[in-house]
């Protein structure tokens, strides 16, 4: 199940002679649900929360959920590239904080023009990714180890640069935390744009297709002429770049770059990818799934808040939901 298109085309073309009742004949919406387990979970959550809380299904609250989901989703899109190619990236939270810090510091303390600061911030994220990628492909470190190191280095550098305290974010960038037309939050727009970019990269570009091949069977990919090491650099660089964007969006919302921001977000990002149907053993995953995964996490947090569930219990519930979401997905695949 490498792409969106295949998922929906596959069962429809093959009339199941096994008499799997009604398969392939289900109407579009139902088929979409059946083919994407995470979407089903999201729908169930939304319906349940709408019934439980009158405040849930309002435009304002849903946009709120979107804003809450945005940072996780953007981080998770980057991590999707890594997971599809059978790696893992633990450093995205730290890299996000480091990039935002670089932006704030260069724009305010060093007085660079804001556009240059933004370029430097994104460049920082990409550079961090390239270092992780080089450690993985040329240093042959397991991705877990390389990015664990980067997690620590990135956070440390953010603290060094900021000397441990928040730096005010330049105003022209902080608009990223605002709304357009007075109602549509910019983070939601950025999330949507990044979702499209991710989908295009995964489905249509050489690097994207190479990620699936590498994640599915690295040796077969190598012997098919795919330059695996170089592609891995691309993968981690993309993850770092996406982390930088997420860091900038987060800092705009907070109107300051905080060196301790986004700590632990890498786990949310990984959870979103996995809930979205990607396999940690590689070769499977898609942008739409990751988006749904991030939305599930945000909806859940938001709903639990609305229902005034204590923060302690929220953690328990979220853990259970992650396990259930992935469980039903694997069960569905096995019976398919």
């Amino acid at each position: 199940m490498a792409t969106d298109t295949l998922d929906s085309a596959g069962p429809a073309k093959v009339p199941g002679p096994s008499g799997d009742k009604g398969a392939g004949r289900a109407p579009g919406a139902l088929r979409l649900l059946r083919d994407n387990g995470a979407l089903g979970a999201l729908v169930i959550l939304v319906v349940a929360l709408s019934l439980l809380s009158g405040d849930f299904l309002t435009t304002q609250n849903l946009l709120n959920v979107g804003v809450q989901a945005a940072v996780t989703a953007i981080l998770a899109f980057g991590v999707t590239f890594v997971i599809v190619s059978a790696g893992i990236d633990l450093s995205v939270g730290s890299v996000a904080a480091l990039s935002a810090t670089v932006l704030a510091w260069t724009a305010t303390d060093a007085g660079l023009p804001v556009w240059l600061s933004v370029v430097l911030a994104v460049g920082t994220g990409i550079a961090c990714g390239l270092v992780s990628g080089a450690l993985v492909s040329y240093g042959r470190l397991p991705s877990f180890v390389a990015t664990l190191a980067m997690l620590s280095v990135g956070r440390g550098l953010a603290l060094v640069i900021s000397q441990g305290s928040p730096i005010a974010f330049p105003e022209s960038v902080s608009v990223l935390g605002d709304t357009v037309g007075g109602w549509l939050p910019v983070p939601v727009l950025v999330m949507a744009a990044m979702a499209v970019v991710t989908a295009v990269i995964l489905n249509r570009t050489f690097s994207g297709r190479a990620m699936y091949a590498i994640g599915g069977n690295e040796e077969a990919a190598r012997l098919s002429g795919i330059r695996v090491k170089r592609q891995k650099l691309v993968v981690y660089a993309l993850s770092g770049g996406f982390a930088a964007v997420a860091g900038i969006v987060l800092a705009s919302r907070l109107v300051s770059a905080q060196p301790q921001a986004a700590a632990g977000y890498e786990l949310d990002a990984i959870a979103a990818v996995v809930i979205g149907g990607a396999s940690l053993s590689g070769g499977v995953g898609k942008a739409s799934g990751t988006l749904i995964g991030a939305l599930i996490l945000a909806v859940l947090r938001n709903g639990l808040n609305l229902l005034s569930v204590s923060a302690f219990w929220q953690q328990v519930v979220i853990g259970v939901v992650i396990a259930l979401a992935v469980l039903q997905d694997t069960l569905r695949r096995r019976t398919a």
């Binding site: 096994s18 077969a220 012997l223």
Partner: protein, 513 residues
């Protein structure tokens, strides 16, 4: 009906029925793999299963090994209906299986793989010394020269196959199922295997044997059941002549098994000079010219695959040069080799050739992916179309191009690996065991595609453990022995005996060119 001797008389009368399958049916999404198939196995016989790629042979035996459950029909062992729901059930019933695809854990040693889950224990701990000794004895019995402590990841496929055989033998089963055990073995190993199987048969073991090598049927078998499109179409004695077997199997007869057509060789495309990798091969030199098929023969372990991989850049080498069209290739760089016009169909389709959990069309398009990229975007529709045509040409039997390669039959998987490289249109194509597991009809089609390649000025270097194939298709045969080229034979002089004589030759001081 012959009556095999049971020396110790430990089992009930030879020739008695061991197991029977009645009206079994198995359906996969998009495919009826088996329908109303009857099959039975007696004590002390070798029952051959014959059929085209995708006919349902592997599916049938997987119902005996506990990997699949029939959707209809029943299975009887010793006349009692049984339910075989798992590998453990099969083992309890005395059924051991050698699957077509290897099931070994790469990181573990040969001995650990053989005794996986059944390691001999002492005081609760694995008794390594005994395990290694037992494994060594088994390996000696199958006649393969490997240290039981070697990690399985370091073995080539012929040795992997021998380890699988040793593992199955260690179970001491009453029913032994072998799914294409000879697909990658050379004559020497096949002979050893046959000796072992004959001895088991004398002991009253029932053997189910799957092969695409027709000459093996008369040599080893007692009865043959022919499957076609998931139905059993005939049960005939193993002595039935080969043409008749082919006709039963594919529904038509095959005129010429090796349709070799060559226009004559042109300029040299690939030149290898003094290639050496210590411990693997030594001072290998040869040339492959446009329009020519060069065979690379030799015993397992002679270094054929190692040379092919080094030439293609998949492995490094210590000294020597590889030139394609006069340009020297960098060492250990697959991308450069590919750009220069080299291609390699690797011997191990599962480990090196396929992304098993990706669709057929994506696997077919893997090598051409870069070429199909314009302005950063892959022309996926074009890729799909090209893959569809190739799948049709090779008659890949599948529910549709979106079927995952993992669920194709073994022979059809092999066709996908070959198809991927045919699409790549490499000037020099190295084929390592290209027809492994491919049925007689489809082999001829692949040979015809090879003809078409050479006719258009491409060149082919072919490695195969199937000697008749090498002899039938090559214009020249290079014979390797112990990491060196022991000699070269032109097509006219290349006979089995001549090749074997070179293959076992002590190569001391007899350098290739």
């Amino acid at each position: 009906m012959k009556t095999p001797v049971t020396p110790d008389g430990r089992r009930a009368p030879a020739g008695g029925e061991l197991l029977r399958m009645e009206g079994v049916r198995k359906v996969f999404p998009g495919t009826v793999a088996l329908d109303r198939v009857d099959f039975d196995l007696r004590r002390g016989e070798v029952h051959v299963l014959l059929g085209e790629n995708g006919a349902g042979k592997s599916t049938l035996i997987k119902m005996l090994s506990g990997a699949h459950r029939p959707d209809a029909g029943r299975i009887l062992v010793d006349g009692e209906p049984v339910r075989i729901g798992s590998a453990q059930d099969a083992e309890r019933l005395g059924i051991a299986t050698i699957y077509q695809e290897f099931n070994l854990v790469p990181g573990l040693s040969v001995a650990e793989n053989i005794f996986l889950g059944r390691q001999p224990r002492r005081f609760g701990l694995v008794d390594r010394r005994r395990m290694n000794a037992d494994a060594a004895a088994l390996l000696q019995r199958v006649g393969v020269d490997v240290d039981p402590r070697t990690p399985v990841a370091e073995l080539g496929i012929a040795r992997l196959q021998m380890v699988e055989i040793a593992k199955a033998l260690s179970l001491d089963a009453r029913v032994l199922i072998m799914d294409e055990p000879t697909a990658v073995l050379t004559t020497g190993e096949v002979d050893k295997l046959f000796r072992i199987v004959r001895r088991l048969r004398e002991d009253g073991v029932g053997v189910v044997f799957i092969t695409h090598h027709l000459e093996e049927i008369a040599a080893l078998g007692d009865r043959v059941t022919v499957l076609r499109d998931g139905r059993s179409v005939a049960e005939v004695p193993a002595g039935t002549d080969q043409d008749e077997l082919v006709r039963l199997m594919v529904g038509r007869s095959i005129e010429q098994q090796f349709p070799r057509e060559r226009a004559g060789a042109g300029e040299p495309l690939l030149r290898v000079t003094g290639l050496t990798r210590r411990g693997h091969f030594d001072d290998v030199s040869f040339e492959v010219r446009a329009g020519e098929v060069v065979g690379l023969a030799g015993l397992v372990g002679a270094g054929r695959t190692e040379v092919a991989r080094a030439v293609f850049g998949a492995d490094p080498y210590d000294s020597g040069t590889v030139e394609v069209l006069g340009r020297r290739l960098p060492r250990h760089d697959v991308g450069a080799a590919l750009d220069a016009g080299l291609g390699l169909v690797p011997e191990d389709r599962k480990g090196q050739g396929l992304v098993l959990d990706a669709p057929v069309h994506e696997n077919l398009g893997l090598v051409t992916l870069r070429r199909a990229t314009r302005a950063g975007l892959v022309d996926r529709a074009g890729q799909r179309r090209a893959a569809g045509l190739m799948a049709e040409q090779l008659r890949v039997r599948m529910a549709g191009p979106d079927q995952h390669v993992r669920t194709l039959s073994g022979g059809n998987q092999q066709k996908v690996v070959i198809g991927k490289w045919l699409l790549a249109d490499a000037r020099v194509l190295i084929l390592d065991e290209p027809t492994r597991g491919i049925d007689v009809g489809a082999k001829v089609e692949i040979y015809q595609l090879v003809n078409r390649l050479t006719a258009s000025g491409h060149a082919v270097l072919m490695i195969s453990s199937d000697l008749p194939e090498v002899l039938g298709m090559s214009d020249r045969v290079l014979v390797m022995s112990q990491g060196r080229i022991a000699g070269e034979l032109p097509h006219r002089e290349a006979t089995q005996d001549a090749v074997m004589a070179l293959a076992v030759k002590e190569t001391e001081g007899s350098r290739g060119h």
